[in-house]
């Protein structure tokens, strides 16, 4: 256990680093001190402080999900209420050191740049408005979702962002119905058959999936339910059969879990600890599985070579991460190199499982809001998230030797993380992306 003073010190360091980074970015934005032409954003924001929106307006949407019961609430009212509670506590942003306080203090850091920051209820209204449009404008939805989606809206928004549900509301229901039937057909055709009808390769794959399902998110009791594991098995097997170029690769089981939890949240009440898959009728389960299957497919379509032979896509990201870290934090980069630490030794799993293994499960859906909002740009942005994640511990890393570093990085102390730490990682990733992505040679000596 960390002592409180240590915790405070740590946060003070993080804050000061964060502020420093923020000042740098703002300076660069305002003073136009970038050498050459710099595109600050891929989005349509004007080139002013509002491009820094990532940290400012996220605060509102996480509150309802800070506990293990994150996915459980089903009402907008709940969200608004819990938010009001937080608003009622003006000192909340000063108490970051308490891990029980889930409110994000980076709000405070950003305050000067907020300006006409929308209120939380206005933000909820925005979600409602975007979702109720005859044709959802995905770009707008992405902007909103990047900073976190209220759990109530999450299933619909994820389906839209992934291009599984069509933006046109008239067509939506029909498309989903067809896709769900399609999945059901696949299960009948590929899964509900005897082994004798399968090739050796398929038997091997099914065996591998069956080995992995019981050890998927084993620290969350919900995933220990036999029916949950069966659902996972079906989803993964159908995906593997239909994607023969990669087939099932360990770690893809982790990637299906956020979808399962989010699409289940539409049908069950209360905390995930009390969810019982067996309470659901089989048609519902099959619909949920279908949504998981299609969304997993859509997600992985953008990362096809991450799971093919030798996983070139992941190797590429690991390489990019190393380069980026060298540009952002020379001392850490040099230290790692001197110690002989290879990025592949820790970052491989990060990219292979999209950081699911590295943070508490109750934070994963929030992280995925940003992933899905990034859409096609996700692989590139992942590098920035990973750099930001790694450099959360830059001071610590400098003090470790090779062995200590490998073990530290493979077992990062994130168990007590709340949303604030995650938001910090995302905000910094956003800033670094703005600083470095469009200026490949910026800060390179």
């Amino acid at each position: 256990m960390r002592s409180e003073s240590e915790e405070e010190r740590k946060n003070a360091t993080i804050d000061s680093r964060f502020n420093q980074t923020l000042r740098n970015v703002q300076g660069l934005l305002k003073g136009r001190s970038f050498p050459g032409k710099v595109l600050i954003t891929r989005r349509s924001d004007p080139l002013d402080n509002s491009t820094m929106r990532s940290p400012d307006n996220h605060g509102s949407l996480r509150d309802s999900e800070t506990g293990p019961s994150q996915q459980s609430d089903g009402s907008v009212e709940d969200e608004m209420q819990s938010r009001n509670n937080l608003n009622a506590s003006p000192s909340a942003s000063q108490e970051k050191s308490s891990t029980s306080n889930s409110e994000n203090t980076s709000n405070e850091v950003q305050k000067p740049s907020i300006g006409s920051r929308a209120t939380d209820s206005a933000r909820l209204m925005k979600f409602t408005k975007e979702l109720s449009a005859t044709t959802v404008i995905l770009e707008k939805l992405r902007e909103l979702a990047w900073n976190g989606v209220p759990s109530y809206f999450r299933p619909n928004i994820w389906r839209l962002l992934l291009g599984y549900a069509p933006p046109n509301s008239d067509r939506r229901e029909g498309v989903l119905r067809r896709k769900r039937l399609d999945y059901l057909d696949c299960v009948a055709q590929y899964y509900d058959i005897q082994d004798i009808e399968r090739t050796d390769e398929e038997i091997n794959m099914l065996r591998q999936i069956a080995v992995d399902c019981p050890r998927t998110v084993p620290d969350v009791s919900f995933f220990q339910q036999a029916q949950v594991q069966k659902s996972l098995e079906r989803i993964l097997y159908i995906w593997a059969i239909r994607h023969p170029a990669s087939g099932y690769v360990q770690g893809i089981n982790d990637l299906a879990t956020p979808f399962l939890v989010v699409f289940l949240s539409e049908h069950v009440e209360g905390s995930i600890d009390n969810w019982m898959m067996s309470d659901l009728p089989s048609e519902k389960i099959s619909d949920i599985e279908a949504d998981c299957y299609w969304c997993l497919s859509k997600l992985l379509d953008g990362m096809q070579d991450h799971y093919t032979f030798a996983q070139p896509g992941i190797q590429r990201l690991v390489f990019k991460l190393k380069e980026l870290v060298r540009r952002i934090d020379e001392p850490v980069s040099t230290h790692m190199e001197e110690q002989g630490l290879e990025f592949l030794q820790f970052a491989f799993r990060w990219f292979n499982c999209l950081l699911i293994r590295e943070i508490p499960f109750h934070l994963v859906t929030r992280l995925w809001d940003t992933y899905l909002a990034e859409g096609d740009a996700l692989p590139d942005f992942l590098v920035y998230i990973a750099a930001s994640f790694l450099l959360t511990w830059s001071d610590k890393l400098l003090k470790l030797d090779f062995q200590e570093m490998v073990m530290f990085l493979q077992h990062l102390p994130t168990h007590n993380w709340s949303h604030s730490e995650l938001e910090m990682v995302l905000s910094r990733a956003y800033m670094w992306h703005a600083m470095f992505n469009s200026s490949p040679s910026h800060l390179v000596s």
Partner: protein, 215 residues
Amino acid sequence: MARRPDEEYDYLFKIVLIGDSGVGKSNLLSRFTRNEFSLESKSTIGVEFATRTLQVEGKMIKSQMWDTAGQERYRAITSAYYRGALGALLVYDVTKPTSFENVSRWLQELRDHADSNIVIMLIGNKTDLKHLRAVATEDAQSYAERERLSFVETSALEATNVDKAFQMNLSEIYRRISKKSLSSDDPAHANIKQGKTLVIGAEEIHTNKACCSAA
């Protein structure tokens, strides 16, 4: 790499754990290094690392162990870790015949990617699941003899033979290396007795250049 004063050791050996997915490699390692076993362990993605220093044949030996993912897709990643490894623990599950049948494929992997003199130990894990045993001890024993591997059966869950398995492997590496160092016709190891510490098998960059001669 700077050595910490509290980490005195005479030798540094790099070991890899290989074998099919789900045979218990990670739990064998955690039992050996931390005396822990978890029924809720996750699959290993890529490689994981652990270390333990212990006395073998009167010497302090630090073992750097790389636990690898069992799935075939990861071979390209994991086989990179075979290089420089002095020992390999090839694990199968005594309740899963396929994991035993695949042992020969793993041996081939080692022949293709590891140093030719790597010390290999065959380990039949999960002996606690007596009622589910599907690979006879004798079969594995005779296979090991044919392939000239050491062999032991373990239970990471009950902590049976786990230390012994690692110790046997480390001793054998030690004996092989000391024997080699005594033979003068091996220039690569000629000055092994000059330095107090011999760092062997680690990647070049991890070696202590002042006294290392074998990397």
